[in-house]
């Protein structure tokens, strides 16, 4: 097997192991029902994490994800109150996400400022904008929301794939194609692997950087849309610290934070691992939600140590 698949294989193995542990501990755990629910409940995190994967692969970081989700939610809710169709407001917000991301990317490249700082500013800016739009939780009442919630595809067994999960899987498929079968995808890996070399090899750094943040913006806006439709409301604090969960999902998925190494599919499993942990703890019943965070933290740490070990023992090269 090619060495580059080892981190991905590890991630999938961890996911399967957790799933089997759940199955051994609780009846009814090993079912498509649980799987379908995990997919639906975590679809917005995974969508956001897919966008973050591109940004991280390019050697950057996007901290504005959570605020973007909140901003998209309140905007859609307010537009709903003004009589907009949710699909129309979703389209508008996706365009906004792309433009906002592109602007962040342009500032990062043109002014040569660290992405951490630029997107941190983006985080504050968008969160502030949420409160400008509304300070309350605003419901989305349009009939489309019901329709959206009722859409589902049956899986073998009792499970279903809800519309959120379907949107997520579709956007994952698109992301896989972009990452592995387009020039742009290769350029992202190249820029993250070695910027200066990529420049000398003829990669347009500015275009790639702007596009990658635009793509990140698109995915976080899409995550916001899915979240708003899933909760059928907009709330100005929605999505706080979600960027960190998204980054955790990316890292658990085997992508290196230093850029250039990783796979988009891994992020799906990374996100599902986070989902599995909370499901396991909820199944337990006696443990409170603090344990979700604690065990996520422990697992993240263990995984990164494992990853480091793999990197050094099999000589899987980091980006230097």
């Amino acid at each position: 097997m090619n060495r580059k698949y080892i981190p991905l294989a590890t991630t999938i193995a961890v996911f399967l192991a957790l799933f089997l542990i759940g199955g051994a501990m609780y009846r009814n755990f090993l079912s498509t029902l649980v799987l379908g629910n995990i997919l639906a409940d975590n679809s917005f995190i995974i969508i956001a994490a897919i966008g973050a994967t591109f940004v991280i692969l390019s050697g950057g970081i996007d901290l504005s994800i959570g605020s973007m989700i909140g901003f998209v939610g309140v905007s859609m809710a307010v537009l709903d109150r003004m009589g907009w169709h949710p699909l129309a407001s979703a389209a508008l917000m996706l365009c906004f996400g792309i433009l906002f991301g592109a602007a962040q990317g342009w500032i990062i490249d043109f002014c040569a400022i660290q992405p951490f700082i630029v997107t941190l500013a983006g985080l504050f800016l968008l969160r502030g904008a949420c409160f400008m739009v509304t300070v309350d939780s605003v419901p989305i009442r349009h009939d489309f929301v019901q329709f959206y919630a009722s859409l589902k595809v049956h899986l073998p067994g009792r499970g279903v794939l809800r519309s959120s999960a379907l949107v997520m899987l579709a956007s994952l498929a698109v992301a896989v194609v972009i990452a592995h079968f387009t020039r742009f995808g290769s350029n992202v890996y190249a820029v993250g692997g070695d910027r200066e070399s990529a420049r000398l090899m003829g990669v347009d750094i500015r275009r790639t950087t702007v596009s990658v943040y635009a793509l990140g913006g698109f995915y976080s806006a899409l995550a916001g849309v899915v979240y708003a439709l899933y909760t059928s409301s907009g709330y100005p604090l929605a999505g706080s610290t979600l960027e960190l969960s998204a980054i955790a999902a990316v890292v658990l998925g085997g992508t290196l934070l230093s850029g250039g190494v990783g796979m988009v599919v891994g992020t799906l499993f990374g996100g599902m691992i986070l989902g599995l942990i909370s499901t396991l703890i909820i199944f337990n019943g006696s443990l409170n939600s603090a344990w979700i965070l604690i065990s996520s933290g422990v697992l993240l740490f263990a995984f990164i140590v494992l990853h480091r070990f793999l990197v050094s023992s099999i000589g899987l090269r980091e980006t230097q």
Partner: protein
């Protein structure tokens, strides 16, 4: 080749000027390259060769002058534009992306059908074809970083060759290649030449200049010293043009006397090895003695040095230093125990580009003394200045960031850093890669002098002449195995070649 090449120049560079802070890197340099010629661009480290070709290939913007391609003025502003014009380049440092696969490195920015989609089947076929032109057979799906520097260099060359190429620029392409690969590359260069491609070839190997080039241009301190047909410039003239003085009789000095193994044993490896990397080997280093490490590309030279230094862990055997067996070798412990290591891949492992020359030089002394005991600034400056002088590093001062030095001068900083820590055991991997003729001789002389002062030395090199010149004994590697040792007295080029070829397995 007629001395006065007639016709239209493929590339004409007129009065090219480039100024970096504190350095006039190029001063009104003219260069004409004709179709179907191999034009050797020569000069000392820091003369401005790489800068000139970076301007031609769009990696740097010029401050003055003009460039004509087939008689038409062009304004190359990026390497992408240069590629579009048919100007392909292999830059001095391997400028590829180690984390990506070989296929991706060969095709990045070049393939792509409609809508920017990539067909990997096509890309792989293309990659395979490019490599087979150079006679390279490797797994193209593995990451580039898993291959040796030399292999990466070959991949970079393969990348630069394609059908649209009209001008091919090679900046020290052979610095880490061994004889066979260089021969293969020259075969290709001759083919390309026959096809009418204009080739610029930068190197510090004068033999190669006479072997392959038709015309020579020499730069010194950013000025063009002269241009002429290779057949009309003698070796002495050439060296004088490059250095601005005659090269003394250094070359004969270093082959003068060889030691016999009498010094104290300072390092012994018994059955040291690592699965899948290196078969177990025995090796002894003695004070005052230089041991050469010869072998073809990929034979495990670098790995031996890294294993001894603890940069990679062994999984069998024992390594003992004077103080006794080493349990968990690590670079830090090795440094504290008086070892120094100069890696071959300075870009990835050797230097920190953003730090100044001074900071890079004192780095390993700092590590040895412990991070808390800071070396006084005045001492740092004294040591750095001393090293800059001793190794003739071309720089205005010690505070210049290392990334802004020319390639050869960076290599000198790697050496300076190792020397500054006053080690008792020194491991050098390709110590003179990319170093000019003048400095080359001086560095080997320096190595010999260090040995006389009681240093134990291991010199791994792909250049047989260098191994012969620098070492008292030679250990020979083949296929990741140490196949034998040539004792002092029998160290000759022929003996080494014979052992590598497998015709002589006995002790020399």
């Amino acid at each position: 080749m007629s001395p006065e090449t007639p016709g239209q120049a493929r590339v004409e560079m007129r009065a090219i000027r480039k100024v970096f802070p504190g350095v006039r890197a190029l001063d009104d340099v003219d260069l004409r390259i004709f179709p179907g010629e191999v034009h050797a661009l020569l000069g000392e480290n820091g003369a401005g060769k790489s800068t000139l070709i970076k301007i031609l290939t769009g990696a740097l913007l010029r401050d003055g002058g003009e460039i004509l391609l087939d008689g038409r003025p062009v304004d190359v502003r990026s390497t992408k534009e240069a590629q579009g014009l048919g100007i392909s380049t292999v830059f001095q440092e391997v400028n590829l992306i180690p984390s990506m696969s070989v296929t991706q490195n060969l095709t990045l920015g070049k393939t792509g059908g409609r809508f920017g989609m990539i067909s990997w089947r096509r890309a792989r076929a293309e990659a395979q074809a490019k490599l087979s032109r150079l006679g390279v057979k490797i797994d193209i799906d593995q990451s580039l970083g898993s291959y040796s520097v030399a292999m990466q260099q070959l991949v970079a060359i393969a990348r630069a060759l394609d059908d649209e190429t009209r001008v091919l620029v090679l900046d020290e392409p052979t610095a880490s290649l061994d004889a066979d690969e260089t021969a293969a590359l020259f075969g290709i260069i001759r083919d390309l030449k026959a096809k009418g491609i204009a080739i610029v070839f930068i190197t510090h190997f004068l033999d190669q200049v006479y072997e392959i080039s038709d015309r020579i241009s020499v730069l010194r301190n950013g000025l063009l010293v002269g241009t002429g047909p290779t057949s009309e410039i003698s070796r002495q003239q050439l060296i004088a043009m490059m250095l601005g003085r005659e090269l003394g009789e250094v070359e004969s000095a270093y082959a003068a006397h060889r030691k016999t193994g009498e010094g104290a044993e300072v390092l012994t490896a018994r059955g040291l090895g690592r699965r899948r990397t290196l078969k177990p080997f025995d090796l002894t280093l003695r004070a005052g003695e230089a041991v050469g490490l010869a072998g073809l590309l990929g034979s495990g030279r670098t790995e031996v040095a890294k294993l001894l230094f603890g940069a990679i862990r062994s999984d069998s055997g024992v390594l003992s230093l004077e103080a006794g067996p080493v349990r968990h070798a690590s670079p830090r412990r090795s440094i504290v125990a008086g070892m120094a290591f100069c890696p071959e891949d300075r870009k990835a492992e050797g230097l920190i580009g953003e730090l100044s020359i001074r900071e890079n030089i004192v780095m390993s002394m700092q590590a040895k003394g412990g991070w808390l005991r800071k070396i006084p600034r005045a001492d740092q400056e004294r040591i750095a200045d001393e090293m800059i002088r001793a190794l003739a590093i071309a720089t205005p001062d010690a505070e210049k960031p290392v990334s802004q030095l020319s390639g050869g001068n960076q290599q000198k900083v790697v050496l300076a850093r190792a020397l500054a820590s006053r080690p008792r055991i020194m491991l050098l991997d390709e110590p003179t890669r990319g170093i000019d003729v003048g400095a080359h001789a001086e560095i080997i002389l320096l190595i010999r002098r260090l040995c006389d002062q009681g240093l134990a030395l291991l010199v791994a090199s792909s250049e047989l002449d260098e191994v012969v010149a620098a070492s008292d004994r030679v250990a020979v590697m083949r296929d990741r195995e140490m196949i034998g040792e040539i004792a002092s007295g029998a160290v000759t080029r022929d003996n080494i070649i014979r052992m590598i070829a497998g015709k002589d397995d006995g002790r020399g």
